[in-house]
Amino acid sequence: MRKRNLALSDRVKASVRQNADALFVLALVLLLFVVLAAAHPRFLSVQNIIGVLQQSMFLLVVSVGMTVVIVAGGLDLSVGSVAALASSVAAMTLLQHGAAAGLAAGLAIGLAAGAINGLVVTRLAVNPFIATMAMMVGARGLALAMTGGAASISLPRSFEALGSLRLLGIPLLLFVTLAVFVAGFYLLHHSGFGLRVFAVGSKAAAARLSGISVSETVLLAFVWSGLCAGIAGLMFTARFNSGLPTTGVFLELYAVAAVVLGGTRLSGGRGGLLRTLLGVLLIAFLQNGLNLFNVSFYWQQVAIGVVFLCAAISSLAGPAAGAGVVWTVRRTGDA
């Protein structure tokens, strides 16, 4: 009996050690939450919390896709542009053929963009940074070309219900966001595909030797990320009742930042979606807090930059590095 307890406490200790960086971010989020709640009387209002979640749901959805790609050892810089393209195509299709066709078109754009990214990376062996940057530029251009350079395509008022629908006082789109997160969580942490993603991201050569199809795994990771970007695009269209070809600039960078902030290793093989959730919440509440106190745009940029840097440093320290900063830690496959 005593032995078992020991083992359990050892396991807890080990888990804390392994997730020290995530706990650090959790502490940061809680600290920010407490400070803002104490400092601003309306921060804790239901309206503000729902407002913040509504503002950051797009970032969370693309970050769910981004996490899987990064854990697999890749990077997807195209998510903002693909979301904009999906939003525009969905709006234009919706105008012609109705809501169901618009929905299908948006999802198809996401899947197709993800598949192209994945195929270019795996079949042509192009570096993910370059491959998805090409998609980032190309998809943006395509969105603007299709809409003739318009800033947005407005939909008739009759479609407005799609975005403003609420369940128990909570916007429907937040439930969609939750569903994407749960699906991503299952995929990455509870499915065979997720295991393969971690294996490939840790050491592709070893994964290949153990019989895993590396290229298929990477391809599927990019398809998933594309699908998430497509869903984010549809959410943009639903919330603003319009196609938005110009939206989502820098969304990919914020997504990478959110993923890395949570402690998912940029080099792949280690990380998780709860970490990403923390990263997104940290960015969201930070921006909200800065706006509530009317901090000027310039200083907001500086503040966000500093937080990103801190997170990068804390993730460099890595798991089990609580005893001292270890600059050269580059472990793989330890989570």
Partner: protein, 321 residues
């Protein structure tokens, strides 16, 4: 996939891109059958920004209507160096006149000097450089529009109240000048306070985010200034979340059809239509007149259309062109 295959594929992609580019680009029709035919070089700041897209439409429509004008466009996409190269290419081609939206007021000057040296009339459109380098500026004093919008806020508030500013990108000259004009007017009314202000990109979601946070901090806000209509439309979504659409005085700028539609529904209150197609037409007319011997004034004013909620019902999409 072998290296050879990959190389073939890359070549194929390159060839496809070239063919697409060739199809997309419209080669200038060889003009000059009659004596009075002009080739005008145009270097706008962007080929994707809606303002310049519409302006280009106006230029093309006017050129087609005149019949003796060929337009040659060079693109720069907000890159000052690329724009300067484009201007110099146009001068080398011996165009009869130039319309330029200088991306950077300093970086474009060598292009203007080269035009002067070659005795090619050069007009600035929308954006401007130091007046000594240009023959005319077809545009506006943005601060006057900021002031005009402020007058409508003040009239609505009746002497006291709170305003939030949702401004465009920090550093953009029209953003800074409109802000200056707006604040100049508001500063005359000690009981009207600007309680929050911030910069966002010109998209609905970014503007909605900022407005939503402002509305949390100031739930009793009386009025919101948006730098563009696109931002104002995003702010309407944030207002609707709180059941405040129509209750908070909201102004935009640009005069795009969806904004006028929102005004008809009572969700937005004031905008100024820039009428970019008309702007493009006017630029070309003024330049051709100048070339033919009627010198243009230093500032050729554009024909804007201020729109209140009362006006919105009678404004047509044609009025906004």
């Amino acid at each position: 996939m072998g290296r050879g295959t990959r190389r073939v594929l890359a070549l194929f992609l390159l060839a496809t891109a070239l063919v697409l580019a060739a199809c997309g680009g419209r080669p200038a029709a060889p003009g000059g059958e009659a004596a009075k035919s002009y080739t005008i070089g145009v270097a706008l700041a962007s080929a994707t920004h809606p303002l310049y897209v519409a302006m280009k439409v106006g230029l093309e429509e006017q050129a087609a209507a005149m019949g003796n004008v060929n337009l040659r466009f060079v693109q720069a996409e907000e890159d000052p160096v690329r724009q300067l190269n484009g201007i110099q290419d146009l001068i080398a081609q011996g165009v009869d006149g130039l319309l330029v939206s200088p991306i950077d007021a300093q970086a474009a000057i060598p292009g203007y000097e080269a035009a002067q040296a070659a005795k090619i009339p050069i007009f600035s459109v929308a954006r401007s450089v130091d007046p000594q380098y240009q023959d005319a500026h077809v545009g506006a004093d943005w601060s006057e529009y900021g002031a005009m919008i402020a007058e409508h806020h003040v009239a609505h508030l009746g002497g006291s109240g709170t305003i939030a500013l949702v401004k465009g990108p920090a550093g953009a000259s029209f953003v800074m000048e409109m802000e200056e004009g707006f604040k100049r007017v508001v500063s005359n009314y000690p009981d009207i306070k600007i309680v929050a202000e911030g910069n966002t990109m010109l998209t609905k979601d970014e503007a909605a985010r900022l407005a939503s946070d402002f509305l949390t901090a100031h739930p009793d806000l009386d009025a919101i200034f948006a730098n563009t209509d696109e931002q104002a439309l995003g702010i309407i979504t944030a207002l609707e979340d709180r059941g405040l659409a129509g209750k908070v005085f909201l102004s935009g700028f640009d005069g795009i059809p969806p904004a006028v539609a929102a005004m008809r529904e009572g969700k937005m209150h004031f905008t100024i239509a820039l009428r970019p197609v008309t702007w493009g037409k006017k630029s070309l007319v003024a330049l051709i007149e100048h070339i033919e011997g009627t010198p243009a004034p230093a500032l050729v004013p554009i024909d804007v259309l201020p729109i209140t909620q009362a006006d919105a019902a009678s404004v047509t999409d044609d009025d906004l062109r």
